[in-house]
Symmetry: C2
Subunit: 378 residues, 2 copies
C-alpha cells in the first residue's frame, strides 16, 4: 500500500538535494564556526552565505536574520526579549496562535506580570482590525502585538501589512509567527512594518530543529539563550551548521518554484473541496475559507459530526495509509480538542476536525483515494 | 599540505557512520514526531530509541533525558528553571565556567536579582571544597551550585561526586556543565548526586546544534522554551530528529571505544608534553595539569611569553595547516584575552595561551609536525 502524506503543515518532506548538501556539510565541515583557523572559517563562510540567501528572500538585510533551533525558539525569543529588553508590559494577541506563542504568553503573564489581551475571532478565524486599534488606544502601556501570519490548523491568513501599519502609527512593536507561510507565500519585509518574524525550516522542506528570527534593524535585542558571541551576541550556542545550510537551500528552492508549487497545490485543494461537496455527506463541514487569497493554500480543515465513528476517523485514515492530523498535534495520545476550533465555533466538542495539508509532491489521485476512504469511514 | 586538526574541544569531526544514519533519517523520516499516524510514529520511535541509548550510557532513566539544541541551551535551561520554578535565589559557581553559564548568571543577576557567588580557583584552576562548604553554610537562601565537570580551556577536572555529596547533605540543587567530558569520561549518574547535567553532541563526534539536559527524576522542571507538549512538556519545539539520532549514535560509538580512544589520546598528549619540555624554549609553560587523572586528556593548554611574535602564533599555525585555538573562541576576531587564563594567573595579559585539543583521529606524527612549527614560530 502506497502511503499518502497529507500532513505537510506538521512537517514537510525533505528535498533530496537538500539532504545531499547537508550530508556533505556534516562530513566535510569539521570545526567550530567561531574558530579563527581554516576549519572554522569554512564553517563560518557557509553560515554567512546561507544568511545572505535567506535575507535576500525577504528583501531584508543580513544583519536582520538570526538563526534559532526552530519556530518555537524564535517565538520565545521575540516575546521574552520584548519584555526583558524593551520593557513591554502588555501583549495583544489572538486566541488561535500556536502553543509556542500562547504558552509563552501564559508564562510571561504568570512569572513576569505581563498583561495579555486577546482579540476576538469570527467563525472563520478572522480578527477585526478596528478592535485591534481600539485595544491599542485604550491603554498607554508599552505594548507588543503578536499575530500569526497564517493559522496552522485552519489556514486563515491575517493581513500583516495592515496590522503592521496600525502598529507603526502607534509606535509599538509587532511580532508575527510566519512559520506556516515562509516558503509558501512571498513576504517582502522591506515594504512592511514588522519588528519580529518567526520561521521554521521543516515547514518548507528543510530539516527539523532549525529556524530563524527576523529582527528589524531598528531593534536591537539581547539574547534569550545566553552564551558565546555567536549570531552577533544575540543567540549563544554553536550553530547548527548543517541545519542552517539545509534550511537556506530549501528556502531557495521554494522561492525559485513558488508559482509552480502554488498553482499545483491550489488546484489540488480546489479538487479536494469539490469532492467533499459532491461525494461526502452534507454534514461534513469545511472549516477553512475556500479562497486561497483568504486561506493558506496548503491547508484544508474539515469537520465531521461527533459520532462513535468520527472518533476513529484519523485511525481509519492511518490504517488506509493516509497521514493527516487532528486539530492539534497531540503527542500524549489523549485528545484534548483543538483550541483553534474551540475559538471559532465556541465549542471544542463541536465535532471531529481533521486537517489535510499539502505540498507540491501530492497528487489529485491521492485526493481521490482519500475521499473514498472518508466516504467509507463516515 | 595535509591539515592537522587540534581543535576537537571546539568541535569534533563527525563519524562517517553517524553521517550515514543522519542522511537516512533526513531522507526517509518524513513527518512530525508528534503526529499520531504512521509517519509520525516512525519519527517518535527513532527519538525514543535514541533517548534510551543515551540514558543507558549514564545509568540514568529515559525520563531523565531531555533533548535541547546544545550545551548552551541546556545550561540556560537548568539555570533559568532553577530560578523560575525552584525559587533559587543564590547561585555558587566558579570564575572559569563556560560563557553560557557565566553570561546566563550575569543575566539572572541583572534581570532577576539573583545573588551570584564565585569560588576562588588556584593556579591550576582547582576549587577548594572547604570554601564551597563554607559558602553554602554562610547563608540559608535557596541555593544552586553550578560547577563544570572539566574546563574547556585548560581541562581541569572538578570532583563532581564530592561536590554532589556536599550539595546533597545541604539539600541544595547541583548543576554540572559536562559538555567537555560526556563521551570522553564515564559518568554514572545513578551513583552521584547531580540535579542537572548538560551535554552537547558535537563535542563527541556527533552533529552541531543538538544536546541534552539530564534532569534527576527527583526534580520536575517547567519549560525554558515554551511551546507544544514535546519532551514531556519540558521543551517545546519540533524535535531535531536527525540530530538526536546522530548524537545517540556518536555517544554509543564513544562508549564502545572509550578505553581504546582514551589510551591513544593519553599517549599522544604525553608525547606532546615531553616534546614541549625537550624541544621548545623553557619559557613555554604548560597551563594544564599533566596527569590525566586531574586534567581531561583531550586538552592541553600552553602559554608562550607575550612578544610581537607570540601574537602571530595562532596565525602561523594556521598558515602551516594546523588548527588550534586561543584561550577562548573569539568570533569577532578581536582578542579579548581568556577569562580562564585571567582567573588562574590573575593576569589576562600574562602571555599568549594556545589550546591544543585531541581526538582518537590525531597521530603522534601530527604532534611532531606541530612542535616543528612551534619551534620556528617562537
Amino acid at each position: 500500500m502506497k502511503s499518502i502524506y497529507f500532513d505537510n503543515a506538521a512537517s514537510a518532506p525533505m528535498l533530496e538535494s537538500v539532504v545531499q548538501s547537508m550530508s556533505q556539510v556534516l562530513m566535510e565541515m569539521t570545526g567550530n564556526p567561531s574558530g579563527t583557523h581554516k576549519h572554522g572559517r569554512k564553517c563560518r563562510a557557509a553560515i554567512e552565505k546561507s544568511r545572505k540567501s535567506i535575507a535576500e528572500n525577504f528583501n531584508a538585510s543580513i544583519g536582520e536574520i538570526f538563526f534559532t533551533s526552530g519556530g518555537t525558539e524564535s517565538n520565545n525569543t521575540a516575546l521574552n526579549c520584548s519584555v526583558d529588553q524593551y520593557g513591554v508590559q502588555r501583549i495583544i494577541t489572538t486566541p488561535i496562535e500556536h502553543p509556542s506563542v500562547l504558552n509563552t504568553l501564559s508564562f510571561l503573564k504568570t512569572k513576569r506580570g505581563i498583561q495579555v489581551e486577546f482579540l476576538a475571532v469570527d467563525n472563520m478565524g478572522r480578527i477585526d482590525l478596528a478592535e485591534l486599534e481600539n485595544k491599542i488606544n485604550a491603554q498607554n502601556d508599552r505594548t507588543l502585538v503578536s499575530i500569526m501570519h497564517a493559522n496552522n490548523e485552519i489556514g486563515v491568513i491575517n493581513p500583516i501589512a495592515e496590522i503592521g501599519e496600525i502598529c507603526k502609527s502607534n509606535n509599538i512593536l509587532f511580532h508575527t509567527d510566519a512559520v506556516q507561510t515562509v516558503g509558501h507565500l512571498p513576504i517582502d519585509l522591506n515594504s512592511m512594518y514588522i519588528s519580529f518574524l518567526s520561521a521554521s525550516g521543516h515547514k518548507f522542506h528543510g530539516p527539523k530543529g532549525i529556524g530563524f528570527l527576523y529582527v528589524n534593524s531598528n531593534n536591537i535585542i539581547q539574547p534569550f539563550i545566553n552564551g558565546g558571541s555567536q549570531e552577533r551576541n544575540v543567540r549563544g550556542g554553536t550553530e547548527n551548521l548543517a541545519g542552517i545550510v539545509g534550511m537556506a537551500e530549501a528556502l531557495e528552492y521554494c522561492k525559485n518554484n513558488l508559482d509552480k508549487k502554488r498553482q499545483h497545490v491550489v488546484a489540488l485543494r480546489q479538487y479536494f473541496i469539490e469532492k467533499i461537496k459532491t461525494a461526502l455527506p452534507p454534514t461534513v463541514k469545511i472549516m477553512s475559507m475556500e479562497d486561497p487569497e483568504d486561506c493558506l493554500y496548503t491547508i484544508l480543515n474539515i469537520m465531521v459530526p461527533q459520532t462513535a465513528k468520527s472518533d476513529l476517523l484519523l485511525m481509519n485514515l492511518d490504517i488506509a495509509g493516509i497521514s493527516a492530523s487532528g486539530g492539534s498535534a497531540c503527542s500524549s495520545g489523549a485528545e484534548k480538542g483543538s483550541h483553534v476550533i474551540g475559538a471559532i465555533t465556541n465549542n471544542k466538542q463541536a465535532g471531529k476536525s481533521v486537517r489535510f495539508s499539502f505540498s507540491f509532491l501530492n497528487t489529485t489521485e491521492e485526493v481521490s483515494q482519500t475521499i473514498e476512504v472518508l466516504k467509507k469511514s463516515l
